[in-house]
Symmetry: C2
């Protein structure tokens, strides 16, 4: 079955041009794919121009008259933007006309709309946001929740572990992904009551390969495949990561740009810097999933460029191929039927 993916074409900081070009780029790379650009038909048509290449046969436009602003409140978007490109793209998933949707829009509005339209999977109290970060092993570490939930309970954290397990199995082909619970120390006595209680729920559960507490630096050491945490903590950790990386990059540029000699050194080092950037290029890790919904919704970074947005589409393709929501349902049903351990 060819994956059909709806793109919220009016989303993102750089407007529809990035998304249209990302769509064309990925269609030329991936044969077995259909894309639907959702947004202002006139704008999208003019951006596509008179291209009549073969890939265009797998690209269609679905009109939507409104768009959600980057700073619009989720409740306002839900109430007033029923014809927004975001809402219509999610509707296409609900109606079975698309297998997934990808948006670079406002995270809060995307989560609220997706939750309202698609609903959560049976047994999931709260959807979560998961994304991959690079680690020293040369693989990646999936982290959830990255900000959809604050004040999570131990049961929510347990459900995040189930969802993270399924995602890492699907995306990285890991039979038994190692799950760590984010804490401020590795000893059992450390942390707040919620993580201690969640640790009890996760221990000895046959469906989850729980390996214990991990700390913030373990995300980048690659100690585990999935790091589970409350959305407040996860979001701070993610933003901290972005902040540190940007600061280091700022000082690297500054240092190589001081005088003629340092600029010469920069020239010599260019291939190395390029190689390095490829390893930890944040664009390669673009595409966070809204997990726990009855449908696949991928959130791209708002500032995504063309290359970056194609990675978000690739994430959607994998999740369609592996049918992630159904897998999550399946494991949860097993657990709820008492074959696992959690009540």
């Amino acid at each position: 079955m060819t994956p059909r993916i709806a793109l919220d074409a009016m989303s993102g900081d750089h407007g529809p041009s990035v998304i249209v070009h990302a769509a064309i780029k990925i269609l030329s790379e991936v044969d077995d794919l259909q894309l639907i650009l959702v947004g202002d038909e006139a704008v999208l048509k003019s951006l596509l121009g008179h291209r009549s290449t073969k890939v265009m046969q797998r690209l269609s436009i679905h009109h939507a008259g409104q768009q959600v602003e980057m700073n619009e409140s989720p409740s306002r978007a839900l109430r007033n933007k029923k014809d927004s490109s975001m809402r219509v793209a999610i509707n296409l998933v609900k109606q079975g006309l698309a297998d997934a949707c990808v948006s670079a829009g406002n995270t809060g509005a995307l989560m609220a709309t997706a939750r309202y339209v698609l609903k959560t999977l049976p047994g999931i109290a709260r959807p979560a946001i998961i994304s991959a970060l690079p680690n020293m092993q040369g693989t990646c570490t999936h982290v959830l929740d990255l900000g959809a939930n604050v004040d999570t309970t131990p049961v929510h954290l347990f459900q995040f572990a189930v969802m993270g397990t399924v995602l890492a199995q699907a995306v990285d082909n890991l039979p038994k992904p190692r799950i760590g619970l984010l804490n401020i120390g590795q000893e059992e006595i450390k942390g707040n009551e919620d993580v201690k209680e969640a640790a009890k729920l996760l221990s000895h559960n046959p469906s989850i390969h729980y390996t214990g507490f991990v700390e913030g630096d373990d995300i980048f050491k690659g100690t585990v495949d999935v790091v589970v945490c409350d959305g407040f903590v996860g979001n701070v950790s993610l933003k901290t990561t972005e902040g540190v990386a940007k600061m280091i990059s700022h000082y690297v540029k500054q240092s190589f740009n001081q005088n003629l000699w340092t600029r010469f050194a920069a020239l010599i080092s260019l291939p190395i810097i390029k190689n390095l950037r490829q390893k930890i290029d944040p664009r390669r890790y673009n595409g966070a999933s809204l997990l726990g919904l009855r449908g696949i919704v991928i959130k791209s970074h708002g500032s995504a460029d063309v290359l970056s947005f194609t990675y978000a589409i690739k994430e959607a393709i994998i999740e369609v191929q592996k049918n992630v929501p159904e897998q999550i349902s399946h494991i949860l049903a097993t657990l709820l039927n008492g074959k696992g351990r959690v009540k």
Copy 2:
């Protein structure tokens, strides 16, 4: 008044040798300073050897027969290690024989012992750990709490803001340090109930220059001078920072070490890398303060080397000179007497 600082000489991953050499180094750099090495007299004497330089007149040894292990539980250390170098160093502060103490030992044990021996300042419910991190402005951002407290209340966060204000005034000579509350968005509706409530306490308070919510990346942008957060969140953010920095450094080394050409480029770039390292060298930011106690206690990173440990001693010197605990008491008393706003 010459600052007299007690050093927990048996602490740290590398043992007393690092601390003894750091003591000698800083005494040769700072004239107006007395140091007391606390620990096993025989060991310390043999490390000092037969030095008879002038600086040695400002260095003394205070014997302590035990030491706290890096993985020892705080309660065990408190109960069983009454003659540890850590405990004795803190006792010296309590007895007025030292103005501050510096330890590279186990954070939990250090906090528990310092709290037990010195007690908290009037009006402070919980001491907090504060440290400085580099930012893009070329200054530093102070962050607290870094892990002394989990499950903090809005009132605790308010008290952290007071302590952070005093520390930034003392260390950076800032008349009105900008205080930000760490959250997962800058809008008022974002975050959990605790940060929303803390924001109310902080707003319009004449003693605190509160500027609003900040996010994880603001630490490194230098948006504010002090970032206030719960200890769980702060610790995860700090460890995340360390993790990202180590991963980038790992990949930089790997990239420059691939072949003859990249090694040549590394050689050319050496002065630049050195300059860069100096700007964001974590050793320069060593020395976290345990704030809110009736005495000055500085925690050095366990893995500190000689240079790094001298920075922790420098932090102690500044806090002694500026009398940080008394300043915190003073501001809190003003607030408690109703001249400020908080109940």
